[in-house]
């Protein structure tokens, strides 16, 4: 008997019922086949499904105190399917799908806002088309030969072409994060950042900033960097040429952690300690985003500020 048959046979057709049953099984797994064996409750699809129950997201973008335009752009996309259908592979868990972008444009004469907005929309479009739609229709890992980080990187490359061709004089940073199950997949160019927030902030992305690189090499101290005349120089950005190297990362998400995407208008003004304290003391992610913007404005708000905060369920 093939395993698929076994799986089909074992799984009732109603997802919700099944989920319930499995949850109730967890404490005392009945393992007829492995009688006597020390069986750990398997951390299986149940958890993925449980995770699907909530993905709360906060987001905010503000022009700041000095600028006359907001050149930042953001995208949030959270999608969930809950239904009766068991697909052919016997895997029905279309857990929550979250996709988020922060882009910080640069260039005068509106080129900055055009670049960030175009790049964010091109990336979102391509990710939804190449990842989300197949996923929605039941495609699992077996159908995706390309790693998710490659697909994200390719979407950013497409945006790069678009900005390079359509927005002369414009460029943008772009940091995007796909949250699927217990893992986040990140693609990144520039100096916007993705942080994993637990009891502390852990920066997942590396800034493509010239001064940042000098600090990494120990040639400059962070204090020197803060006042360095080249502190805002990027060595990589979307839209600056035909070819773009996109950094990609992935990270397991601990239960009850949060994911923060932000432009340098936040991290350039508010210390990581303060960001962490605000998030820790503000359970509602939307409220937390608003408080982060307030903090950046209080610190001068000399740049546009954009924040996306994703709450990873327990």
């Amino acid at each position: 008997m093939g395993f698929l048959d076994r799986l089909r046979r074992k799984r009732p057709s109603n997802d919700k019922v099944r989920a319930q049953e499995e949850v109730s099984e967890r404490g005392a797994p009945s393992s007829d086949a492995l009688a006597g064996a020390e069986v750990q409750p398997s951390a299986g699809p149940q958890e993925v499904e449980k995770a699907s129950s909530v993905m709360r997201v906060g987001r905010a973008s503000d022009i700041g105190q000095v600028r006359t335009t907001n050149q930042d752009a953001l995208v949030t996309f959270v999608a969930e399917y809950i239904g009766d259908h068991v697909d052919d592979a016997g895997m029905l868990s279309r857990g929550p799908f979250g996709f988020f972008i922060v882009a910080d444009g640069m260039g005068g004469h509106q080129a900055g806002e055009v670049a960030s907005s175009l790049a964010a929309r091109v990336v979102a479009h391509q990710v939804i088309e190449t990842i989300y739609l197949p996923y929605l229709m039941g495609e699992g890992p077996e159908a995706f030969q390309d790693p998710l980080t490659d697909l994200l990187g390719r979407a950013v490359s497409t945006a790069n072409q678009a900005v390079h061709q359509q927005v002369p004089g414009g460029g943008t940073t772009l940091t995007c994060a796909l949250v699927l199950g217990r893992r986040v997949y990140v693609a990144h160019v520039g100096d916007s950042r993705a942080y994993l927030v637990t009891d502390r902030l852990r920066q997942l992305t590396q800034d493509h900033s010239f001064v940042g690189r000098l600090v990494e090499l120990g040639e400059l101290s962070p204090d020197e960097a803060a006042v360095h005349p080249q502190r805002n120089v990027l060595y990589r950005a979307v839209g600056q040429g035909d070819h773009l190297d996109v950094d990609t990362y992935s990270q397991l998400l601990p239960p009850a952690s949060r994911l923060l995407l932000c432009s340098d208008g936040l991290w350039g003004h508010v210390s990581e300690e303060e960001i962490g304290a605000i998030i820790a003391s503000t359970p509602n992610p939307q409220k937390a985003c608003e408080r982060l913007i307030e903090a950046a404005n209080a610190a001068g708000g000399s740049d546009n500020i954009t924040v996306v905060l994703i709450e990873i369920p327990d």
Binding site: F3, L7, G44, G108, P141, E142, V233, S250
Partner: protein, 695 residues
């Protein structure tokens, strides 16, 4: 002292009392346009190569950015036909960058012939008359220094003058191509010949020796890079574009700045000394040999991109010289251009390069490869089986267990190699034994999994399957898990061998399972990687394009599963869901099973390399080339990586750098994987021996 990234200038003193320079001279795509505001958050993008004009300081732009490339001369450039000083007739523009332009001009004092010269124009935009005057004085002082230089690789200075807010330097016109152009003409997939680049390197050292030896002060060129090096019509190297323009950089608020890519880290602290030119020479040579433009790479990332990684045809000796020149720490570079030239001449001798007109090369040939490959270590013992040993050893309680194609499972004293017992199966043993609870478990090509008493060699039970067994057993939860060519993954009781379940995966299973947290992970010959829970329930499946014979390695903390495939890729999969996180493509099929240690994945490929990859993203940290395929699976032990090669050698590499620690030649391809215990490496070879070597 300078506080900035100005490209280059002649001596530290030459800047004199001028206002502090504001920043890097712009040498970037479309550096014309919007200057940065002083706003803290103003961002600029360091641009890739090329050098269009800068002029009009635009007002108010908030985020300066590389504007679109343009070659349109800006308002400020001199039109063709303009005559300067009643003598120099402008014929066209040769180049533009930062605050300066270079024209091709004709010297009208020679009416009978077309005597050409290059005229560099620098615009002085300092608003304060005092500062303007200082700048002009500095410019003239630098022009005077340049005019005294006398070296075949340095263009002659004929004249200088100032007209209004523009100062001019008249230079020898050099017919030829710069090295950036030369490099751009190298066809895709090809490289400049090593010997050619070596010759240029030696000539560049010669001119640096001259400049650095200048009295009273050494002259630091500061901006050595392919576009500043001309190859004249005689094929000789000439330096162009001495960075006199820098004098006029002061006070240009928001001048856009790009990373030059070739300058040493300390230059950005304002330090300029001869060893900075050594670094820039190293960066230039790196670019010429690898075709990796440093302006498009993360700054100061040369150490992460050794020359031979991109261009393996370069000799290790030349690579070593370049990488030494590129040390971040100036103290670790060559102390002088002489020293570097000496090293380059040494490279020439080793690769058999004769310099043109240099007479017969002395001591041409290397003494042989042996001194590069470390001394061979002596085996502690070796044990002869009756046929090839492709199985990998296991050591438990001082006893080594290993299978052989001679059908036997052997038990040897791990310390002495003394024979303890053997158990004869009905087929060759290619899989590796596993020891648990006093039993040795091993599969054979006779289709049976055996459990044998570890001390005595007596049979305890057998578990027959319908296919040959290449998969090595794993034990967890008191059960043995193994795959068979009959397409099934089996779970059998460790006590009795009774099959608890078997799952049909639709293809032979030769991969061995990784087990953690109640889940099994293994590959199948149809290219799938599967995860079952310990009840045999399918959790997920991923599909590579070709067979997965390699056994997965799990990083539990990161939740990642690493596995190689015959489709040439190594994959990182999310262990919970099976989604591919990244993949890295080698140049050959992967049979070797990865080893993971502290965020580094080690794996061999049939392309002949052992790779060390960053577990987070699959980037190559280093790779080591053997002389044959690497199908053996590496083992990590105490800072070193051990594996066998089809070239017959057993290797020990430094895990951090990939440098060879030692290698030992056996009499046949080594496809067995090492087991390292108590400072001893155990491994089999197809020469029929089992080896014990000091780690």
């Amino acid at each position: 002292m300078k506080d900035s990234l100005e490209t280059r200038h002649i001596t530290d003193e030459s800047q004199g009392g001028a206002a502090p320079a504001e920043g890097l001279e712009t040498r970037r795509i479309g550096s014309g346009s919007a200057p940065a505001s002083d706003d803290k958050s103003t961002r600029q993008i360091a641009g890739p190569p090329a050098t269009p004009p800068t002029t009009a300081p635009a007002a108010e732009a908030t985020r300066p950015i590389t504007p679109p490339p343009t070659t349109t001369p800006t308002e400020g450039t001199l039109p063709r036909g303009t005559v300067l000083q009643g003598r120099y007739q402008i014929l066209g523009i040769l180049g533009m960058g930062g605050m300066s332009s270079v024209y091709k001009a004709r010297d009208l004092r020679f009416p009978e012939v077309e005597k050409l010269c290059a005229i560099k124009e620098m615009i002085n935009l300092a608003p304060d008359p005092q500062i303007r005057a200082t700048m002009i004085r500095n410019f003239e002082r630098e022009a005077n220094i340049l005019a005294t230089l006398n070296h075949p690789a340095v263009p002659k200075v004929y004249d200088y003058f100032t007209e209004g807010d523009r100062s001019y330097l008249v230079l020898e016109f050099i017919e030829g191509q710069d090295l950036e152009e030369v490099l751009s003409e190298v066809p895709e997939g090809e490289f400049l010949p090593e010997k050619q680049v070596l010759e240029w390197a030696i000539q560049l050292c010669d001119v640096l020796i001259y400049l650095h030896g200048h009295k009273p002060q050494p002259i630091v060129f500061r901006d050595l890079k392919p576009s500043n090096i001309m190859l004249d019509s005689h094929g000789r190297i000439r330096l162009i574009d001495f960075g006199i323009a820098k004098v006029f950089q002061s006070g240009q608020k928001g001048t856009m700045i790009g990373t030059e890519g070739y300058s040493p880290p300390e230059q950005y602290r304002g330090s300029a000394e001869p060893r900075g030119d050594i670094y820039a020479l190293g960066a230039t040579l790196h670019h010429l040999l690898t075709k990796q433009d440093p302006r498009l790479e993360p700054p100061f990332s040369f150490q992460e991109r050794p020359v031979r990684q991109a261009n393996p045809s370069v000799s290790p000796e030349f690579e070593a010289v370049i990488m030494k020149a590129l040390e971040y720490d100036a103290e670790k570079r060559y102390g002088s251009a002489e020293e570097m030239k000496h090293a380059l001449l040494g490279v020439g001798r080793r690769i058999g390069y004769r310099r043109p007109g240099a007479g017969p090369a002395a001591g041409v040939v290397l003494t042989g490869e042996t001194d590069l490959e470390a001394s061979e270590t002596m085996a502690l013992w070796r044990f002869a089986c009756e046929d090839e040993v492709r199985s990998s050893p296991t050591v438990a309680d001082g006893i080594l267990y290993i299978g052989s194609y001679d059908h036997n499972l052997y038990a040897l004293d791990a310390e002495t190699g003394e024979f303890l017992w053997k158990y004869a199966t009905e087929g060759g043993i290619a899989s590796s034994p596993y020891v648990s609870e006093g039993k040795v478990l091993v599969g054979s090509q006779d289709r049976v999994l055996y459990a044998i008493h570890a001390r005595t060699g007596r049979i305890e039970w057998t578990c027959p399957t319908q296919g040959r067994i290449y998969s090595s057993p794993r034990v967890e939860f008191n059960h043995v898990f193994f795959g068979s060519d009959d397409h099934h993954m089996y779970a059998a009781s460790l006590q009795t061998g009774r099959v608890a379940w078997k799952v049909d995966m639709g293809a032979p299973i030769r991969s061995s399972a990784a087990i953690a947290e109640g889940q099994l992970f293994f590959g199948c010959e149809d290219g799938s990687v599967a995860s079952l829970d310990i009840r045999g329930e399918m959790r997920w499946r991923f599909r590579a394009k070709r067979a997965v014979t390699s056994s997965p390695a799990l990083d539990q903390e990161e939740g990642l599963l690493f596995v190689g495939s015959m489709d040439w890729n190594i994959y990182a999969l999310d262990a919970r869901s099976g989604w591919a996180v990244w993949r890295f493509r080698t140049s050959g099929p992967i049979v070797s099973s990865p080893a993971i240690h502290q965020g580094v994945v080690y794996v061999g490929s049939a392309d002949g390399h052992l790779y060390a990859l960053d577990a987070r993203n699959g980037r190559v940290l280093w790779k080591y080339q053997t002389e044959g395929q690497v199908t053996s699976s590496p083992a990590y032990y105490n800072g070193a990586v051990y594996f066998g090669g089809v070239d017959g050698c057993i290797y020990s590499l430094d895990a951090e750098t990939g440098d060879l620690r030692w290698r030992v030649k056996t009499g046949g391809p080594v496809t067995s994987s090492p087991c390292v215990v108590n400072e001893v490496v155990y491994i089999g070879s197809t020469d029929r021996y089992v080896y014990a070597l000091p780690a």
